[in-house]
């Protein structure tokens, strides 16, 4: 187990370096001049040169990367926004809880729908439920999150008026300057974004879980359990479920990255002040440090989450833990 953890930590560090190098190269190599952007309105060439020196943009790229990495590791700093000079770390810290609420809440929603439906579909293949689930899957796979979000917002928020149309409320009550706060308002404002995620992902997961459960049910050890005299419920709970959830856990780890991408659309539609929404505005404003900061943070989040999933997997599967 210790070996496994050490190996995973080294792998995570390696992944982080690769991801940041690529991000850094892409964003600092594109043909926009960060110095000109940062120097303010109508700068003189001298101004631009001064700003360039100040931002170390006159250094070779590997030194810039090293500075970026050094600032990140030594001071935990991601630099400052070109647009409003605020610390990128502060901005990301503001946005991250919103995106986390959206993605993890969404994951809870899509799993709590797809696990029971997937299992029931596997137990009764070709039944009415299975066919309805299949239809649902097709819609979920085909539809774009923006479309799903807009339709939900229009029907439930605008026409029926039972949910907010858009907007976000802080989870912790008493946030200064906020219109609304507290867990109930928080959940009330996130319900449609969560459902958007649910429609988007539950579809795939229903099929995935259905296929895994069906495959596991035809395993030899399930026949062994029946031959021992175990009842169907016991066979499902003790022998089928844990084994069939192993691949689901892996896919879940990978899909968190995908969900962060989906958050860009969902946050835009529902006007949630999260990382995705601000990534779009930062990109539109050529606010390169903020873009890099958000990408770095998202990369880190995906790495950490994948690491957690791997650890969870090792706990679930003794073959990994003990090998």
């Amino acid at each position: 187990m210790t070996h496994f953890l050490i190996r995973r930590i080294f792998w995570a560090i390696f992944l982080f370096l690769v991801a940041t190098i690529i991000t850094y190269l892409i964003f600092f190599v594109i043909p926009a001049d960060p110095a000109a952007l940062a120097a303010g309105k109508a700068p003189t060439p001298q101004d631009v040169a001064r700003v360039r020196h100040l931002m170390h943009l006159d250094l070779p790229i590997y030194q810039q990367y090293w500075l970026f990495l050094w600032n990140l590791i030594r001071h935990g700093s991601l630099g400052h926004s070109f647009v409003n000079r605020q610390s990128v770390r502060y901005l990301v810290g503001e946005d991250a809880p919103v995106t986390a609420s959206l993605v993890f809440g969404g994951a809870v929603f899509w799993l709590s729908l797809s696990i029971p439906v997937g299992i029931l579909s596997a137990l009764r293949p070709r039944s009415l439920l299975d066919r309805i689930a299949m239809l649902f899957v097709l819609v979920g796979i085909s539809a774009h999150p923006v479309w799903i979000g807009l339709i939900l917002s229009y029907v439930f928020g605008y026409k029926l008026g039972i949910t907010p149309i858009a907007g976000y409320c802080n989870f912790f009550p008493g946030t200064p300057g906020a219109q609304c706060s507290g867990p109930i308002q928080w959940a009330y404002h996130l319900i449609l974004p969560w459902i958007t995620f649910m429609v988007l992902f539950a579809a795939l997961y229903v099929r995935l879980i259905r296929a895994n459960v069906m495959e596991t049910m035809s395993e030899d050890y399930v026949r062994t359990a029946r031959a021992k005299g175990a009842g169907e419920r016991r066979v499902m709970v003790q022998h089928v479920l844990r084994n069939s959830m192993l691949p689901v856990v892996t896919i879940l780890g990978m899909d968190i990255g995908l969900a962060l991408g989906g958050a860009i659309f969902t946050e835009t539609v529902f006007n949630l002040p999260g990382l995705g929404n601000n990534l779009v505005s930062a990109a539109n404003a050529d606010d390169l440090p903020l873009v890099v900061g958000i990408v770095v943070f998202a990369t880190l989040a995906v790495i950490v989450f994948n690491f957690l999933v791997d650890v969870a997997y090792a706990f679930l599967d003794p073959r990994i833990r003990l090998s």
């Binding site: 031959a227 175990a230 022998h239 599967d317």
Partner: protein
């Protein structure tokens, strides 16, 4: 009264291509403490016969008929709850592939304890004690430590010992062993067979040994069923079967046995493929591969009839007594000359 009496057992499966007749009328009886060898190639219906009588075929696809009396009680079509009381308690079962027959995410001990707890009103610690005890009986070294291991920490032979332990943990009256040694290497096979023989004496149980290996049958069985195309084609005591087999398929099986004293000779093989169960051949299912085929074989299924002067030795073949005796004598003479020459 026999411990297990099977009459006209039939199992077919609905598939997308049509109905597959896996078992088409099997009769046999098993006495207490007896060992029955069931021989046949893949698809002969030997495994399905016993999965059916244990109620382990999927009821959504399988159609089952006939009668299975276990200790005088009809268990074919019995309630699942009744079958569950019998499975694992009075009839134990082990399977071909020990590598996949144990749950990979549960400890060995947990899986053994489960078998005890399903049928006995005991505490988990009592079940654990029983599990350690049975692991010792199947000769697992350091059983009290290894009980906390996971299946992947055991070798194939060791896993099959665990499977045997799990099947025997509740002292069953019958052990159904479905090709228990097929997936193991030869030295391990011999160990497992020796173990089963010893345990049979200790536990006083009947064994059904499903196999395609006549060597295993010769080693363990009292009586033998030879199955082909979903039917019993010959049944006899093991001595009679090896001394005087009565039908061409059995001749072929015996002829294809490898013999250690023959070095250069090629193994004889039965030409052709096992019959399709979706579109079985007309008449005798073996006729397309039989070197002595006659017109009647293509039209009529031969009855399972007793051999000359031996009511317990039964077989299916249209060849008359004289022809069969002549052919077998010639075949045996050839086998013996080869042995002598070697």
């Amino acid at each position: 009264m026999a411990l297990l009496e099977v009459k006209d057992l039939r199992t077919s499966f609905r598939t997308d291509d049509g109905v597959v007749k896996a078992v088409s009328g099997v009769d046999f009886a098993l006495e207490r403490g007896q060992t029955l060898g069931v021989v046949g190639e893949s698809g002969s219906g030997k495994s399905v016969t016993f999965l059916t009588l244990m109620g382990l075929v999927d009821p959504r696809h399988a159609m089952v008929s006939g009668s299975v009396l276990f200790d005088g009680e009809e268990i074919l079509g019995a309630k699942t709850s009744r079958l569950r009381e019998i499975r694992g308690a009075r009839i134990g079962m082990i399977f071909q592939d020990p590598m996949t027959s144990l749950n990979p995410v549960k400890r060995i001990g947990w899986q053994l304890e489960e078998a005890v707890l399903l049928h006995n009103d005991v505490t988990r610690s009592e079940a654990r004690k029983r599990a350690v005890e049975i692991l010792k009986q199947v000769e697992i070294p350091r059983a009290d430590q290894r009980i906390d291991d996971y299946p992947h920490q055991f070798s194939g032979g060791m896993r099959q010992r665990v499977m045997i332990a799990m099947a025997l943990i509740n002292n069953p009256e019958i052990l159904i062993a479905d090709e228990p040694t097929t997936a193991l290497d030869v030295t391990t096979q011999a160990q497992i067979l020796r173990l089963m023989k010893r345990l049979q004496d200790e536990f006083q149980m009947a064994i059904v040994m499903i196999t395609h290996d006549l060597g295993v049958v010769a080693e363990l069985a009292d009586d033998v069923l030879v199955m082909y195309g979903g039917r019993v084609v010959e049944q006899a005591s093991v001595d009679d079967l090896f001394a005087k087999p009565e039908m061409p398929y059995t001749w072929g099986l015996l002829g294809s046995l490898p013999r250690l004293n023959l070095i250069a000779a090629r193994l004889e093989q039965i030409p052709g493929q096992p019959p399709s169960l979706l579109h079985p051949p007309s008449g005798c299912a073996f006729h397309p591969r039989c070197e002595f085929v006659m017109d009647v074989c293509r039209q009529e299924l031969p009855e399972l009839r007793p051999a000359l002067g031996d009511e317990t030795h039964r077989f299916r073949c249209h060849l008359d007594d004289e022809a069969r005796a002549r052919i077998w004598d010639a075949k045996r003479a050839k086998l013996v000359t080869e042995d002598v020459a070697a």
